[in-house]
């Protein structure tokens, strides 16, 4: 088993490990934010604080051979699925050790060994791609499942509609998982979207639809497991809406001043990490144990930053590689 799949196994079996992963994602994102703020990274990045529970729940449910098509807001899902913080950070920092070798950047993470298709920076693009992965599984008679993770804003784009209809008609093993974090860029969902219960849209395709609290990892896990099992057992696609919140701005530079006063604070009360912490404490895990996890993760992230910062940059040839496979490349 690879390091990545080991990391995945952990969070399935062990509630502490799942908590630790959520903390890892949180601290990772905060670290990335600092690196950008300090001008150490160029380009842009989209952070996922507030959405950690969903990513970890999904990763915990999926089998190693299932696949996920996610988005530019993908650090959390990559880490949850098992990608190492070093691999993600190196990609963000444009190092040759990054998961795409540094040519992709923050918006483009990929590692098929953990089932992560290249995350797309085009809204909606992943839904047909996950549908196609499910098509491959169905055609070959495999009981694997594909998942498309996308935002509330993406539920308004054509690819959403086409994918759900086609997947429904073909009864494909795919889960459409909408991470409704209330905003699409700087627009609150109610300003762009005709229905607020996004799972209602499932009715237009005669497939199951459900909305749930995406900030509670157990709730999320239960809802996702049901839909994934249904898909795996020939029950076809589902539309799930996870209710989360984007604690950060849309991207690097965004201070999110457009949020109504008090909204962030309201949602912070449901901070998935705090929620999880309380639940574990209630289950008898000690405060000290949790503090130790927090500290260990923090140390790990700090160490990763140090290592990755010293990682090599890709050489110029890297920008010419991996465009065509070799015969084609040679023919040129």
């Amino acid at each position: 088993m690879s390091v990545q799949l080991d990391r995945r196994s952990e969070i399935r079996a062990d509630a502490r490990a799942a908590y630790a992963r959520m903390v890892e994602i949180r601290l990772f994102e905060e670290q990335v934010n600092e690196l950008f703020a300090a001008g150490l990274v160029h380009g842009t990045t989209h952070l996922c604080q507030g959405q950690e529970a969903l990513d970890v729940a999904l990763a915990a449910v999926l089998r190693d051979d299932d696949v996920v098509a996610a988005t530019y807001r993908g650090h959390g899902i990559a880490l949850a699925l098992g990608m190492t913080p070093a691999s993600v950070l190196a990609e963000i920092m444009g190092r040759s050790t990054g998961c795409t070798g540094g040519v992709g950047g923050s918006m483009h993470l990929a590692d098929m060994s953990i089932g992560l298709l290249p995350t797309s920076a085009i809204i909606g693009a992943g839904l047909p791609i996950a549908t196609g992965a499910a098509l491959a599984f169905q055609t070959r008679g495999e009981d694997r499942v594909a998942v498309a993770v996308f935002g509330d804003g993406a539920s308004n784009i054509g690819a959403f509609h086409e994918s759900l209809n086609m997947a429904a008609v073909w009864r494909l093993p795919v889960l459409f998982l909408c991470d409704n974090n209330v905003y699409g860029e700087y627009s609150r969902i109610d300003r762009t979207t005709a229905v607020l219960d996004l799972s209602r849209r499932a009715a237009g395709y005669d497939i199951p639809g459900e909305s749930f609290d995406g900030m509670d990892v157990d709730t999320a896990r239960t809802a996702i497991a049901a839909a994934v099992d249904r898909a795996r057992n020939g029950g076809g696609p589902s539309l799930l809406e996870a209710r989360t919140y984007r604690f950060a701005g849309h991207s690097r530079a965004d201070k999110a001043l457009y949020r109504p006063e008090g909204e962030l604070e309201e949602y912070r009360k449901r901070d998935p990490i705090a929620v999880r912490r309380s639940a574990l404490l209630a289950q008898g895990v000690s405060e000290g144990e949790l503090a130790a996890i927090d500290a260990r993760v923090a140390d790990d992230i700090a160490a990763v930053v140090a290592t990755v910062s010293a990682d090599p940059l890709p050489d110029l040839a890297a920008m010419f590689a991996n465009i065509w496979t070799e015969p084609a490349a040679a023919a040129r």
């Binding site: 696949v67 098509a69 998961c99 795409t100 070798g101 040519v103 992709g104 483009h108 990929a110 590692d111 098929m112 298709l117 290249p118 797309s120 085009i122 909606g124 693009a125 839904l127 047909p128 791609i129 996950a130 549908t131 196609g132 992965a133 499910a134 098509l135 491959a136 599984f137 169905q138 055609t139 070959r140 594909a146 054509g158 690819a159 086409e162 994918s163 209809n165 086609m166 008609v169 073909w170 590689a321 991996n322 465009i323 065509w324 496979t325 015969p327 084609a328 023919a331 040129r332």
Partner: protein, 338 residues
């Protein structure tokens, strides 16, 4: 050697690859039960069944993207975009996703998908169903753009496209579907991608064409009784610079015959490359014979003038060889347009 229509050659190529490789599947609108609006998938559903041969909803974005996903997960999907215009609602998945997946996976992923799309004018389908639009796809590193020109190239390039590990779009001039030609089938009939085909060797002038205009160029050359070398570009991107440049170096003269508009048409890069890289070999100005900068008109006698005609190509060829000067396009000559 059997003769078959171009659409049969395509269906045969698909069937042969599907027999050879269980991962090949086809889907698109009305391609299964109806066997394709242009009968390019005749017999496939019957032989390969509904899992591998599927009718889709009218959802080009979904099924083009599904091909990306299925290809990434080990299938070799061949999808049909009935008229290339319909890519206008799905281009993202091909250009911005499929063509980038290898790059975005450090070489770990291949996307061996084929998009087949019918293109071109000549059948009275009007301005939204008669464009060629290779410009939409042809500046895309990672995507191979192929155009067929006869039954053999339909068969041979289609099989090669399906076997290619990267995304390929095969443009099929619609007027050719009903045209018959001899076809070598089997492995021997497979043609290499990214190689131009010299369809008529010659010494005096190089004529580059693609798709529908290959036959037009050949006929015009025959009509002029000139020793022209006619090259079917076959793959537009990445194109076979060396075959063209070698020929131009030998002949010193170059004409490109295009079904593409004067402004933005594909032939410009052939002429530009020859001008840059064979400048001293050129004994006269290289030039393009293109469609006019107009939407494809419907009325039959107007549409008949849209693609360069044999007569008009022959006229320009003759003027050029006689005078060394670049001839005027017909619309200037006949005073119908500046």
């Amino acid at each position: 050697m059997p003769t078959m229509r171009v659409n049969q050659a395509i269906a045969t190529a698909l069937a042969d690859e599907m027999r050879a490789d269980a991962s090949v599947m086809v889907f698109g609108e009305d391609i299964a039960e109806a066997e394709g609006p242009f009968k390019t998938s005749e017999g496939l559903l019957a032989e390969f069944g509904p899992l591998r041969v599927r009718d889709t909803p009218i959802s080009e974005m979904a099924f083009t993207g599904a091909a990306v996903g299925a290809a990434t997960l080990g299938m070799r999907p061949v999808i049909e975009i009935m008229f290339v215009e319909f890519l206008g609602v799905a281009l993202d998945e091909l250009v911005t996703e499929a063509a980038k997946f290898r790059y975005l996976s450090n070489g770990a992923l291949s996307v061996p998908m084929v998009v087949r799309a019918s293109v071109g004018s000549g059948l009275g389908f009007g301005c939204q169903h008669s464009q060629t639009l290779e410009n939409w796809v042809s500046a895309t590193p990672g995507l191979t753009v192929v155009t067929i020109s006869d039954a053999q190239s339909a068969y041979g390039l289609m099989r090669a496209a399906i076997r290619d590990p990267d995304p390929v779009i095969v443009l099929e001039p619609r007027t050719l579907y009903a045209r018959r030609g001899e076809v070598t089938t089997g492995e021997a009939g497979i043609l290499p991608l990214r190689r131009a085909r010299t369809v008529r060797p010659g010494a005096d002038i190089t004529v580059v064409a693609m798709g529908q205009t290959v036959g037009i160029a050949l006929d015009a050359v025959a009509a002029c009784d000139v020793d022209a070398e006619v090259i079917d570009l076959a793959t537009l991107s990445p194109w076979d610079r060396s075959t063209v440049l070698t020929s131009v170096h030998r002949t010193g003269r170059l004409i490109v015959v295009e079904e593409a508009p004067l402004t933005g048409g594909w032939g410009a890069q052939v002429v530009a490359t020859a001008a840059s890289e064979a400048f001293s070999a050129l004994t006269a100005a290289p030039f393009r014979i293109t469609t006019p900068d107009v939407p494809v008109p419907y009325a039959k006698h107007l549409e008949a003038r849209f693609v360069p005609t044999v007569e008009d190509v022959a006229r320009q060829l003759r003027t050029y060889l006689d005078t060394g000067a670049v001839p005027q396009p017909w619309w200037v000559l006949e005073g119908v347009s500046a």
